[in-house]
């Protein structure tokens, strides 16, 4: 499933929308996919440029600290040392680990950042998929589980109680980066922006200045050019989506998707896309993964029971995908996309870039 944000021209980085209003656009490769930012505002272009530079610096800084693919990152440091001794953690990262623990508990373990050993075992870390033996899975599972991680808020330390444990923030890190960028933009007085990490995690700050109620995010089936199923409108809202349409491998005629169930140590079997809506991109990033792990039925029940806003798209059947919106509205695709007077393009916002694993963050 792919979501699409109707998008103004992105061929250059500065648009004069009107003489007093500028729009800056930035797209950079990172986190195994890309980071994208639109900032719109009635301030000098030089100021907007500084903002964009600062945002990109922040993204790079966070990726260097959070990525399991960066050998000198804080996460790799924790993975290497936290079994031997408690490791003092940066306040931001500690907060992120606390959020990860909370979502883990909330979802009954369907989301768990300690799946690092499984990601490597199944070959998704290096993007060279392989099917491990049951014994290997069982052994790896001994080093998986947030319950074996001790977070000490007073000392702000993290400690592993099992050897071989590895944190992998691939299913929550993009959302966290987005939230940090949004906070930075808000501090700088920005009221209109769209922040997008790999198409799988988005935050819409304010609404486009064309009078729309919000930024429109279109939903269309997995990475194809098929017609959009509908549109959700976002205003001061985060959107996370998870599915495994592209990241998978096939062995012996069996398809293995990249979304791993931390409870079983195996890839999930159901074909679906899960989208989560909420205030925090960190949370929607993690929750969308948890919903994709749960499967359509459990995900629907879970969202209704807990009052979560979500879109669950069941693609397991032969026919058209079954789309269900829970506590949110899917609007029909109607009328032209938001163009603000500029030529329309589609933002490639997609779940195909993966949630549980990433490619190398280069």
């Amino acid at each position: 499933m792919q979501s699409v944000v109707p998008f103004p021209s992105m061929n250059s980085d500065l648009h004069v929308v009107d003489p007093k209003r500028f729009r800056m656009y930035l797209r950079k490769p990172t986190m195994g996919s890309y980071f994208e930012l639109i900032v719109d505002g009635d301030r000098p272009a030089a100021e907007l440029r500084v903002l964009m530079d600062e945002a990109w610096e922040l993204v790079q800084h966070l990726v260097d600290r959070l990525s399991a693919h960066v050998p000198a990152s804080d996460v790799c440091f924790i993975n290497e040392h936290a079994f031997a001794r408690p490791v003092l953690v940066d306040p931001d990262l500690f907060g992120l680990l606390q959020q990860a623990a909370a979502v883990c508990e909330f979802t009954g373990g369907a989301f768990d950042v300690t799946i690092g050993p499984l990601v490597k075992l199944w070959g998704f870390f290096a993007r060279e998929g392989r099917v491990p033996s049951d014994a290997e899975i069982e052994e790896a599972m001994g080093s998986v589980g947030m319950g074996h991680v001790e977070l000490n808020p007073a000392a702000r330390t993290v400690r592993f109680h099992r050897p071989g444990m590895e944190i992998n923030l691939g299913a929550i890190g993009k959302g966290f980066v987005i939230d940090k960028v949004v906070a930075m933009l808000r501090r700088s007085g920005v009221t209109c922006a769209l922040v997008n990490a790999g198409g799988s995690s988005i935050f819409a700050l304010g609404a486009p200045p064309d009078g729309s109620d919000g930024w429109r995010v279109g939903l269309r089936p997995g990475g194809t050019a098929m017609e959009r199923l509908g549109v959700v409108e976002l205003r001061d809202q985060a959107f996370g989506t998870s599915g495994d349409h592209e990241q998978h491998f096939v062995t012996g005629g069996v398809r293995y998707g990249h979304i791993l169930d931390p409870r079983t140590g195996r890839p999930v079997c159901h074909r679906m896309t899960a989208c989560s809506l909420g205030d925090s991109a960190t949370r929607t990033d993690a929750l969308s993964t948890a919903l994709a792990v749960m499967g359509p039925e459990e995900a629907r029940r879970f969202c209704v029971q807990h009052g979560e806003s979500a879109v669950v798209i069941d693609e397991s059947g032969e026919g058209a995908p079954v789309v269900e919106a829970i506590r949110c509205t899917i609007r029909p695709v109607a009328g032209p996309p938001q163009t603000m007077g500029l030529s329309p393009l589609s933002l490639d916002a997609s779940s195909r870039d993966g949630k549980q694993t990433r490619g190398r963050h280069h």
């Binding site: 000098p44 030089a46 100021e47 440029r49 500084v50 530079d53 600062e54 790079q60 800084h61 990726v63 260097d64 600290r65 960066v70 050998p71 000198a72 990152s73 804080d74 790799c76 440091f77 290497e80 003092l88 940066d90 306040p91 007073a154 000392a155 702000r156 700088s188 280069h362």
Partner: protein, 454 residues
């Protein structure tokens, strides 16, 4: 302070490290590898951080990874920045506004100094006078005289002074120096080109508040001190000194003369490209040429209106020899250690066996051999000391800043000379400062060995 007048480096080193054997260049780096964890269960070194800006926080994050270091206090005149940094340093971290108060009141053994350039010598000298070891960010000081003042204070205190030229601790740079340059794989090097180019006004968000009592008439001048010549040497001291230090170190020699041109050519004050408070007076576009012994010429540029670099990052150093070309680019992967380097052989130069096995890429028809310490081990580093940093993949888990912090703690514990000591720091500062002098005076400025005499 004339007791050291005319003192040469040898005597200086003796006086600093009387109790220890002087260590050769690079030996300290090898020791740094052996630093963690805390040896013999000794108490961690109690360190105070002075300066909680961007670089101060980079150093803090890396110091926190060294079990032998305990950051016990932080100091900054900007309250919010100081408090955030103290929070990062861990619970119970002491907070100070005045560095003098921290030096006086708190039982720290060493300081990390990451304040604006014009304050380096003042803070370092006060720290030495209070009996502390000093790690000072590059560029060492605002003038060569101030570098000398720091060195004199260091000798009197008999404490360690380490300067933060972190590329000297970079595994790939060490690898390239030892395996390519020193082994003659490049042949005779006669030319080096380097750049650190950006596209942007090089501005930072200014803090709120009144900092006039500390010498900053406006928040703008504090937040953007790099843009004002009364606090900074601009692009040459803030960016160039990193690379020029690395070039001199890798070539094994220091420049003899420099000329160049620079100007405020794009981000002009009172233009619509910068906000009205921006009254910068340092160039945004510098191009300098150094002469080194043996006919080596080094050209360096740093500009702020175009960030393109075919080698993938804002900065690179290109060493050109009769047998080959070495390109180093330490920002390719951000500030982690997966930086990139490439070796290009000249036409007709015979490949060594290891080169045939190394990872290679095609760059517009030229074969580039990846400088990857884990793959291109040169002739397997057969004659290299086992402790060399670059052979173990594990070292890629440490940022250069962590490696320099590890060496600092060992130097403090043994009162020995770090790989990048004050004398090296002074010469690298001179590279940047004399380039500025050459651009200002529009003349060729020579480096006189006598100017380093204490």
């Amino acid at each position: 302070m004339d007791i050291l007048e005319g003192m040469g480096r040898r005597e200086f080193l003796k006086s600093v490290a009387a109790a220890t054997a002087a260590l050769g260049l690079g030996a300290g780096v090898a020791r740094a590898q052996e630093a963690a964890p805390a040896a013999g269960g000794a108490e961690p070194l109690k360190v105070g951080l002075i300066g909680c800006g961007g670089q101060g926080n980079v150093l803090l994050a890396n110091a926190l990874r060294v079990p032998d270091i305990k950051i016990v206090g932080v100091c900054d005149i900007v309250d919010a920045r100081r408090d955030e940094t103290a929070d990062r340093a861990g619970p119970d971290t002491e907070k100070y506004t005045e560095y003098a108060e921290m030096l006086e009141k708190y039982p720290i053994e060493a300081v990390i100094i990451a304040v604006p350039l014009w304050k380096h010598s003042e803070v370092a000298i006060a720290a030495f006078q209070a009996g502390k070891h000093v790690f000072c960010e590059k560029c060492m000081a605002y003038t060569i005289d101030e570098c000398k003042d720091m060195l004199r204070a260091q000798v009197q205190a008999n404490k360690v002074l380490q300067i933060g030229h972190h590329l000297r601790y970079h595994p790939l740079y060490i690898h390239a120096k030892r395996s390519f340059i020193e082994k003659g794989i490049l042949g005779d090097i006669t030319s080096v080109s380097a750049q650190w180019n950006r596209n942007g006004p090089w501005r930072r968000e200014a803090p709120q508040g009144d900092y006039s009592k500390w010498g900053y008439p406006s928040p703008e001048e504090l937040g953007n001190w790099r843009l004002y010549s009364k606090y900074s040497g601009g692009l040459m001291t803030e960016l160039g000194s990193h690379q020029l230090d690395a070039i001199s170190w890798m070539l094994g020699k220091n420049p003899t003369a420099v000329c160049g041109v620079g100007g405020i050519d794009y981000w002009k004050p009172d233009s619509n490209r910068v906000p009205p408070e921006d009254q910068r007076d340092v160039p945004d576009n510098v191009h300098v040429i150094y002469e080194y012994p043996g006919g080596v010429k080094v050209d360096y540029q740093s500009s702020t209106t175009n960030a393109f670099n075919i080698f993938g990052s804002q900065c690179c150093e290109i060493f050109r020899g009769t047998q080959g070309t070495l390109v180093m680019s330490h920002l390719v992967e951000g500030m982690n250690l997966k930086s990139a380097g490439w070796l290009f052989l000249e036409e007709g130069v015979q490949k060594q066996i290891w080169m045939t096995m190394a990872h290679k890429v095609d760059v517009y028809g030229h074969e580039a051999i990846h400088v990857d310490a884990t793959v291109t081990e040169g002739p397997k580093l057969a004659n290299q000391p086992i402790s060399t940093l670059i052979t173990a993949e594990g070292d890629l888990k440490k940022m250069t800043y962590q490696l320099e912090m590890e060496e600092f703690v060992i130097s403090c514990r043994t009162n020995s000379i770090p790989s990048c000591d004050g004398m090296i720091g002074m010469k690298s500062a001179a590279d940047a400062l004399l380039a500025n002098q050459a651009m200002t005076s529009q003349s060729r400025v020579t480096f006189d060995e006598g100017m380093y005499a204490l």
